[in-house]
């Protein structure tokens, strides 16, 4: 909700009894999360649409959510996994890499989806008003289902290798949220930049690839010298990935990564939401 909009009552619809003021606005604005909340039903519809459309004409449908990380696991196990010291000692490499690939896939697909969400929503952006933040949010939300499906596949892999999670598994929702916050932070920012500069389309696949190698997906973070860990943790995915492995497979809690990463992800998101709101008013004119 921007400062000039003044909701009086909340009965019935999101718009009842409301005075909307239209005037030029400049500079920074409030994040408008209250307005997003008021439109949560539409958010749900956008997620539902993204899911329907994504799997409508595919032969394997939602199986792709599992196939993607599984295939990557096989490839990495057959290649990098053969090198000594890439994964932690005493842990089967396929289990190690799969426990990283599942949250990584959530992050990478959400990021790519969100950064393209405004551009592909051009038709509605120029025809009807709704909080524009819903589009990148919905994009990220729609990959949550894929993630849940791939978690089931992860459970199977864990069963196969006889890995039994401890109570630390209760941290999983929080770590998932952290991955979502990171994807939202970067994705929302890139979606807004994409409206004006379509260069983003070329940058994103490249960025995701680089980012993967800058994160402990296929290798363990213990390979990074300890004095660099704080810097390494500024990449929120470091905390998410090592956190995931700790929560599911065990080992020492990666305290040096998780807390810095969590803080970094929240700061990322706030900054990018502020940027989004600042340029939002020009979307319909430039897109």
């Amino acid at each position: 909700m921007s400062p000039s909009e003044n909701p009086k009552t909340g009965s019935g619809s999101a718009w009842d009894g409301q005075v909307v003021v239209l005037e030029p606005r400049h500079g920074w604005r409030q994040l408008g999360l209250r307005e997003v909340w008021a439109h949560r039903e539409l958010l749900y519809f956008f997620i539902w649409r993204d899911l329907k459309v994504r799997y409508k004409q595919t032969a394997f449908g939602a199986a792709w959510a599992v196939l993607q990380p599984v295939l990557l696991m096989l490839v990495f196990s057959a290649s990098l996994g053969r090198l000594p010291g890439v994964g932690p000692a005493g842990l089967p490499y396929p289990l190690f890499v799969f426990a990283g690939l599942v949250p990584w896939t959530l992050f990478a697909s959400s990021l790519a989806g969100a950064s393209n969400s405004l551009v592909s929503g051009e038709a509605i952006i120029t025809k009807v008003y709704f909080p524009r933040l819903l589009l990148p949010f919905a994009s990220v939300g729609s990959f949550l289902l894929d993630f849940v499906i791939s978690l089931a596949a992860l459970a199977v892999v864990m069963l196969y290798f006889g890995a039994v999670p401890s109570l630390a598994i209760l941290w999983l929702p929080l770590l998932t949220l952290m991955a979502l916050v990171t994807a939202l932070g970067v994705g929302t920012f890139l979606s807004a930049v994409n409206v004006r500069y379509r260069d983003v389309k070329y940058v994103v696949p490249f960025l995701v690839q680089l980012w993967m190698f800058a994160s402990p997906v296929v290798y363990t973070s213990t390979l990074i010298p300890a004095q660099w860990h704080v810097l390494y943790a500024l990449n929120p995915m470091s905390g998410v990935l090592e956190g995931f492995r700790w929560a599911l497979i065990g080992g020492p809690r990666p305290d040096d990564l998780i807390f810095v990463s969590a803080a970094a992800s929240v700061i990322f998101l706030l900054g990018s939401l502020m940027y989004f709101r600042r340029v939002e008013r020009t979307f319909a004119d430039v897109i």
Partner: protein
């Protein structure tokens, strides 16, 4: 004084022409500008390639009224609607909207080709601002209005364009905002469905809702709106009762006027045999020539100069077209047999064609005036779209449509003679 639903003051919208031509900026350009900006100093902001799509537009709309926005292409109608429906921000000025806002800037907003009709009803309804429960409650009515029956579970990409439009409008027709903005959506779809939509929209208007309606269709504007605003080059030209504003609009363009005169014969259309002097639309009772009640007889008067050499017999033909370019009928002065058989002299001739009341359908009628001779057939003077007028059906009960206010198709609307009587009091056997 009624409660105000919309108040706008000094609304203006500026576009950078460069932006319109090349909407995508280049990252390198921006970076370069950012680097060189401190070197260039200030004053680079206004580079003279700005375009004001809307300038200083102010108005107030009381709750429950239906206001039409008219103007030629590029007059700023759509920009105004985009500002009011919050799609874009004004560059200057301010507007206040009191109430739940809905906007209908295209038919089928948010439709996705891969989704079925059923899925798209839910999606489009939600995007247009309906709650899920509201959509589900009205679902059957929407399906019935759209008339898509067995195709409900077929992907929309397999629909004909007509079906898509019907479905899109059906969803929108069941929106219940307090303030509704509608752009040119009636310009699509077949004539039959357009009328159905018009009927639905006048219902909306009667329901106490505030409606702002942009259209090129003068009959639609006249039937739905009590007040209209004429925009030109981004500015308000006139704001007032619909019939006055529509008249101003029709007068402001070529081939849109109810009266044409060529004071200088040298530049008038024609040759030595016949040269037009004037063409006029003269409704009975002498009212405004551009907007005529469907019940009134209309005279079309053509005056032409003739030097009528030899036995040439100039004859006036009038061609009547409707807004869709359909030729309604052609007529010529052959019907005046006395004149037809009379000997012709040089001079000024006046030919008047009488069109009865309750004969034309409502809508714009454009008249082409021709003077020709026969045997051999030769056209001497012709003026396409010489005059135009709008026939208005106020649905007051004594016209052809009687008390029926919905769709009423047909290119003409003649009041024909009927005879109805009871033949017998015996009921059909077997009932």
């Amino acid at each position: 004084m009624a409660e105000i639903a919309i108040s706008a003051s000094g609304l203006a919208k500026k576009y950078r022409i460069g932006l319109r031509r090349d909407p995508y900026g280049r990252l390198t350009e921006t970076l370069w500008n950012a680097i060189t900006k401190p070197l260039r100093g200030s004053g680079t902001k206004d580079r003279g390639d700005d375009f004001w799509a809307l300038r200083d537009v102010s108005f107030e709309v009381p709750r429950g009224s239906v206001v039409g926005i008219i103007g030629r292409n590029g007059a700023g109608k759509s920009t105004l609607l985009k500002i009011l429906s919050r799609i874009t921000e004004p560059t200057l000025g301010r507007a206040e909207l009191h109430g739940r806002v809905g906007s209908l800037l295209e038919v089928g907003t948010g439709f996705h080709q891969e989704l079925t009709g059923r899925e798209n009803i839910l999606l489009s309804g939600a995007i247009l601002g309906m709650r899920r429960s509201e959509i589900l409650r009205k679902f059957d009515e929407i399906v019935a209005f759209a008339d898509i029956g067995q195709f409900l579970d077929t992907p929309v990409k397999r629909y004909s364009s007509g079906m898509k439009v019907r479905l899109g409008f059906a969803v929108a027709a069941f929106l219940e905002p307090e303030i509704l903005f509608i752009d040119e959506v009636l310009a699509v779809g077949d004539a039959e469905f357009q009328k159905k939509c018009l009927g639905k929209m006048s219902e909306i208007g009667k329901g106490g809702r505030t409606v702002i309606f942009v259209s090129h269709s003068m009959p639609a504007i006249q039937r739905l709106c009590d007040r209209a605003i004429l925009l030109d080059h981004g500015r308000t030209v006139v704001d007032g009762p619909t019939h006055e504003v529509v008249r101003r609009y029709l007068e402001s363009g070529p081939g849109q006027t109810g009266s044409r005169e060529w004071p200088d014969p040298a530049s008038a259309p024609g040759d030595d045999v016949a040269r037009l002097k004037s063409v006029r639309v003269l409704p009975a009772g002498g009212g405004p020539a551009e907007e005529i009640d469907i019940r009134l007889p209309i005279d079309i008067e053509v005056e032409y100069w003739t030097k009528a050499p030899g036995n040439l017999r100039p004859s006036v033909n009038l061609h009547f077209y409707n807004d869709e370019g359909v030729c309604l009928f052609i007529n010529n002065d052959w019907n005046d047999r006395d004149w037809w058989n009379a000997s012709r002299r040089p001079g000024l001739v006046r030919a008047v064609c009488h069109i009865p009341g309750n004969f034309l359908a409502e809508g714009r009628v454009v008249v082409t005036a021709v003077v020709s001779t026969y045997n051999p057939t030769m056209v001497h003077a012709t003026e396409p779209e010489a005059v135009a007028f709008v026939v208005v059906d106020r649905s007051e009960g004594d016209g052809v449509r009687g008390v029926f206010t919905n769709e009423f198709p047909g290119v003409v609307r003649p009041m024909l003679g009927w005879q109805v009587a009871q033949v017998s009091d015996t009921v059909a056997p077997g009932d």
